[in-house]
């Protein structure tokens, strides 16, 4: 069978090269421009008086408010306080979740005893426990840290548990043939094999940690980013409120990026 020349030729001839190289970059550029244009419209709308400034201040005013908070040191102080709350809660809840997930994953006995109550506590909405925590632990740092810890522990518990259950049993058999000790099995099989999914749990936990912090800081905080926002509400400083929200968002994105980098490192053998 012969192929007509006009049908065969499109396969043989190549599309002009510049077009091909431009196409993917074009979409990247458009993606980058879209939010910038939106910001420009917002700024322009504010300048023309189309957007009332006591409802939504112009981007330039929000940036100004931010610079002011940075210069007078209020942002640094708030970041430190909120940061310590999150770090303490993450450590406490993270260690609890990973340790419980590991023991439950490794032992059927722990699974039968520890997993049912964990699943029951998990069903409670942890943010709904705020009134209880205030009564139990007062209004200081402790209830905030404990609330973050509680929220953080479950994604890590569940992901660690299932990660350990999914370790290839053939590798354990191989380890037995090679004469590995328990510690060697833990280090060379369980940890590297479970790490990617545990890190997925860390990412979920981080999102919950920031969310919990935001809610906990709305209620009776006297320092931290939440306090900054609440205080601004009393003085009708919408620019500071929006700036505080942006800080929360940047913290969430930044910490997520750190964990994603760890994930890439844990999976580098798959490249």
């Amino acid at each position: 069978m012969t192929i007509p020349a006009e049908l065969a030729s499109p396969l043989a001839s190549t599309t002009p090269a510049p077009n091909r190289r431009w196409a993917p970059r074009k979409w990247g550029l458009i993606r980058l421009l879209s939010p910038l244009i939106l910001l420009g419209v917002w700024q322009l709308g504010s300048a023309l008086g189309l957007i009332p400034q006591d409802v939504l201040p112009a981007p330039s005013l929000i940036i100004e408010a931010g610079i002011q908070l940075i210069e007078n040191g209020q942002l640094a102080d708030a970041l430190q306080v909120s940061g310590i709350r999150v770090v303490e809660g993450l450590l406490l809840g993270g260690i609890l979740g990973v340790v419980l997930g590991t023991t439950v994953g490794l032992s059927r006995w722990f699974e039968a005893t520890v997993d049912p109550p964990m699943q029951m506590i998990r069903a409670l909405p942890h943010l709904g426990l705020i009134p209880l925590f205030i009564l139990w632990f007062g209004i200081g740092e402790l209830p905030k840290v404990l609330l973050v810890a509680l929220g953080v522990s479950f994604p890590l518990y569940l992901n660690t548990f299932s990660a350990i259950r999914q370790v290839d049993p053939k590798l354990f058999e191989t380890a037995q043939v090679l004469g590995f000790s328990f510690w060697q099995r833990f280090r060379t099989i369980i940890v590297p094999s479970a790490a990617p999914q545990v890190l997925v749990g860390v990412r979920q936990s981080l999102a919950i940690a920031w969310l919990t912090l935001i809610v906990a800081e709305q209620i009776n905080a006297d320092k931290g980013i939440g306090f900054l926002i609440n205080n601004a509400r009393d003085f009708l400083r919408i620019d500071i409120i929006i700036f505080g929200l942006i800080v929360y968002a940047l913290l969430g994105i930044g910490t997520d990026a750190i964990v994603r980098a760890l994930e890439r490192r844990a999976l580098r053998y798959r490249s």
Binding site: L171, E173, T174, V177, G179, T188, I189, Y269, S271
Partner: protein
């Protein structure tokens, strides 16, 4: 069940009157076999005949059997899949074969490099196992099994997952290593040709019993040697009509 270590005999591994049950099911019935050093014994049988179970008993992976198991030192075992640790580089995987030897790290690395040279993979020592081809990964698995210089090598259909050409070159590599080091081999396979091509003796296992033993007069002849009689005999015992 007794485990005896006999260093001075030429026996690399032996089972005496081994029985094993899974619940009510009798998986191994009075299995006795011997593998001497410098000998290749093939164990052949249909799926479910208990081949792998025999291997697991000899490897020390089974605890609930009766009868005696005698092995010289710690036997090495290579599986059908390479079973490498994907998150450790190739050299470290081979070093794991020396876990029982408790050697200093530098000595273990040097031995691993020699074992990798033996299987022709010196230049792949630093790569991740997932970048290897199937045949290369199986060679690393062989290096890991042999790095501790075992006297008994147990192979569970080690070439079963490889393509035909790679399988042939792996057979050649196994024979080279075996001639050099002189360990005993128990080769579990369902490939009659492989058994005839490699073994001194072929045991046919059926429903957990050794039903036939075939001794090959002049083993490992060059290609084209008359092996047809052995094939026919084994296929007949396996119940295959040709």
């Amino acid at each position: 069940m007794t485990i005896v270590s006999e260093r001075r005999t030429t026996i690399a591994g032996e089972l005496r009157h081994v029985n094993k049950w899974y619940d009510d099911h009798h998986v191994l019935t009075d299995v006795s076999l011997q593998v001497e050093r410098g000998q290749i014994v093939a164990l052949i049988g249909r799926s479910g005949s208990g081949k792998s179970t025999v291997l697991r008993v000899l490897a020390g992976l089974s605890t609930d059997h009766t009868g005696d198991r005698v092995v010289s030192g710690a036997p090495a075992l290579a599986f059908q899949e390479p079973r490498l640790f994907p998150w450790r580089d190739v050299r470290t995987n081979v070093v794991y074969g020396l876990t029982r030897s408790r050697l200093p790290r530098s000595e273990a690395r040097a031995r691993a490099d020699r074992a990798l040279a033996d299987v022709g993979l010196t230049d792949r020592a630093d790569v991740w196992p997932l970048t290897l081809s199937g045949g290369q990964a199986q060679r690393v698995s062989l290096a890991r099994a042999l790095v501790a210089e075992p006297e008994l090598l147990l192979l569970d259909e080690p070439f079963g997952a490889l393509d035909a050409l790679t399988r042939l070159s792996m057979r050649g590599l196994l024979l080279d290593l075996w001639r050099e080091h002189g360990f005993g081999v128990l080769l579990v396979t369902h490939d009659v040709d492989e058994a005839v091509a490699l073994a001194d003796r072929v045991l046919v296992l059926e429903a957990g019993r050794v039903v036939h033993t075939l001794t090959i007069d002049e083993p490992r002849q060059s290609p084209g040697a008359p092996t047809e009689q052995y094939r026919t005999e084994l296929l007949d015992k396996l119940g295959v009509q040709i």
